[in-house]
């Protein structure tokens, strides 16, 4: 893989991602702060992709074990975060016609 995240470019990406993150997230209303917590937790589950890369390139048994554990943990992060967030959000409903 050609290295692209060199020097200042990485800084630019971090700066812009920080602004994007702060702006986007500060618009989430307090009512959704618990799902936001688990939803953002889900988003870093993308780490599983990095773990897969590490595992596929493992050469020693030690690397294979660590890589395996990494993928396992990352997959758990992603899947668990997704399910829990979806379950919570599914509960938020607007007032419907079906009045009590």
């Amino acid at each position: 893989m050609e290295t692209t995240l060199v020097g200042f470019i990485a800084l630019y990406i971090v700066m812009l991602a920080t602004f994007t993150g702060i702006e986007v997230i500060s618009r989430v209303p307090a009512i959704l702060h618990t799902p936001l917590m688990s939803g953002s937790n889900f988003v870093h589950g993308i780490v599983v992709v990095g773990a897969l890369y590490a595992l596929l390139n493992a050469t020693t048994p030690a690397q294979q074990v660590i890589g395996f554990v990494g993928v396992l943990l990352g997959a758990g992060n992603a899947a668990g975060g997704y399910v829990v967030t979806r379950r919570m959000l599914a509960m938020f409903k607007a007032s419907a016609k079906e009045k009590a």
């Binding site: 290295t3 692209t4 995240l5 990406i13 971090v14 991602a17 702060i22 986007v24 997230i25 989430v28 307090a30 009512i31 959704l32 618990t34 917590m37 688990s38 939803g39 953002s40 937790n41 889900f42 988003v43 870093h44 589950g45 993308i46 780490v47 599983v48 992709v49 990095g50 897969l52 890369y53 595992l55 596929l56 493992a58 050469t59 020693t60 690397q63 294979q64 890589g67 990494g70 993928v71 396992l72 943990l73 997959a75 758990g76 992060n77 899947a79 668990g80 399910v83 829990v84 979806r86 379950r87 919570m88 959000l89 509960m91 938020f92 409903k93 607007a94 007032s95 419907a96 009590a100």
Partner: protein
């Protein structure tokens, strides 16, 4: 398209979907689709990443079949386990599940670092420094989150505090830094496995030791902080692996976690450092002076009937509602009031309960529509025109001392103006104090009456009283 190009495209799409998904969280109307959008992002990037098989290191070539099998197995097991636990965990156990999933992410970042550091060749400094820093953050986040999980899940009940805790933690931290620098300078990316193991062991121990002394009630702040840490670790390892999508996702999550942590700390009127390093309540309780007046108990039935004939009722739920799991009974009661023509809404303090948004999820679970849930700023002026404010298992969030008593540990925290309502009813079990451990003057106010009892039990009585009235009429 080459495999590399497909992977890069998938990564880019994933990053885009993450941000679009999080943007949808800005309203309860779109939030449900938001998590699905972000979900597609992870799915696309994960599937694409299998194309790495076409470009593995020559050294890893012989292992490829095994590695691929391991990868699929690990993915399968991880997803299956998390999916099943995630689906069946009760909603009350959400905080600890978030903790554990978060810890797993930190662990995965740590594993990436470990693989890279046990590297297939010398690593340039510019890669090694971030790899090591990310490793420490990831490992601390992993073990710390597990402790948080254990505490919230009741597996660890005591706050365990060693003598000289601060000194031990500092020493351990210094040792980790020392080891890291040694790995960096002396071994040039080829540090012996034993050394690497000690290094990671120390980082894991640090996570445990830092988290153990923190009280269970402070755990949500800690989880949010570890969430930010995992994000940071993922971003750093993304830099090491040259994967912009990891950097972006990690940084965005880091921002989210930091924002929520600061929000909680500010709403609790404490600094993050204070949450982490000092036992709360030790000084707090002494502060409050004597309060004049007395608490005036009232029968549950009488309170219910007075609400039945009120024009407007605002309900303030708090931690006690969660403890009693009384949200279903509460909404049943509310629907009876609504049927009788009473205007009812919920006034929700940003830090009511033990997590940001805790009450909202609880009420949503019981079926309360989100348009009845009002935020502090939105609702606080309405109390003056409210006939009855019903406080259920809430305490700190309605404590007027936050407005007036400069010596109170909660002074300055914004509160719900329940005391401005014409009549206040408070449901709680007894003289128990709130999270911050201070007395609450509101309970002694002239326009306030106490309904003693477990929230669930009291609400059952409320419902019975209203139904009886309906039957009698």
């Amino acid at each position: 398209m080459t495999p590399g190009l497909i992977i890069e495209t998938a990564d880019f799409v994933a990053a885009l979907l993450f941000i679009l998904g999080l943007k949808r969280m800005s309203s309860p109307v779109t939030a449900r689709s938001g998590i699905v959008v972000a979900g597609w992002g992870v799915l696309v990037a994960t599937l694409a990443s299998f194309l790495y098989v076409f470009g593995v290191d020559p050294a890893a070539q012989p292992n490829l079949a095994v590695n691929l099998g391991l990868g699929i197995a690990a993915l399968g097991i991880g997803v299956a386990w998390a999916w099943v636990t995630g689906e069946k965990v009760p909603l009350t156990a959400m905080p600890q599940m978030v903790a554990i999933y978060n810890g797993m992410g930190g662990g995965a970042a740590g594993c990436i670092a470990a693989v890279e550091l046990s590297g297939n060749g010398a690593m340039p400094m510019g890669q090694m420094i971030p790899a090591i820093v990310g490793a420490v953050i990831g490992a601390v986040s992993f073990s710390g989150s597990l402790i948080a999980w254990a505490k919230l899940d009741g597996k660890i009940n005591k706050t365990i505090r060693l003598p000289g805790q601060q000194a031990i933690n500092s020493l351990l931290f210094a040792a980790i830094v020392g080891l890291g620098v040694y790995m960096l300078v002396a071994t040039g990316g080829q540090s012996p496995p034993a050394l690497t193991s000690i290094f990671f062991g120390a980082a894991l121990a640090l996570g445990v030791l830092v988290t153990l002394p923190i009280g269970g009630a402070d755990m949500p702040v800690v989880i949010s902080l570890y969430n930010a840490c995992t994000g940071l670790a993922v971003a750093i390892e993304g830099y090491v692996l040259d994967k912009p999508v990891l950097v972006i996702a990690g940084v965005v999550v880091g921002a989210a976690g930091t924002l929520l942590t600061l929000l909680m700390a500010r709403a609790m009127n404490r600094s993050v450092a204070n949450v982490l390093f000092s036992r709360f309540g030790e000084t707090g309780t002494a502060g409050a002076g004597e309060i004049q007046g007395s608490m005036k108990p009232v029968e549950a039935g009488d309170a219910a009937i007075s609400m039945r004939y009120a024009g407007k009722v605002l309900i303030i739920p708090g931690y006690g509602l969660a403890v009693a799991q009384a949200q279903y009974k509460l909404y049943e009661f509310v629907k009876l009031l609504q049927a009788a023509g009473v205007e009812v809404a919920f006034a929700i303090h940003p830090v009511a309960g033990r997590m940001p948004g805790h009450m909202d999820v609880l009420l949503a679970e019981a079926g309360v529509p989100y348009d009845l849930m009002k935020e502090l700023d939105e609702v606080n002026d309405e109390f003056r025109s409210t006939d009855v404010a019903l406080v259920i298992g809430a305490n700190d969030v309605v404590n007027p001392a936050a407005r007036t008593d400069k010596s109170s540990p909660i002074y300055g925290m914004p509160i719900l103006n329940a005391d401005h309502a014409h009549q206040v009813y408070v449901i709680k079990r007894g003289q128990g104090k709130g999270y911050s451990g201070v007395e609450n003057e509101l309970f002694y106010a002239d326009n306030c009456n106490m309904v003693y009892g477990d929230a669930q039990a009291v609400l059952v009585k409320f419902i019975a009283a209203i139904k009886e009235l309906g039957a009698a009429a």
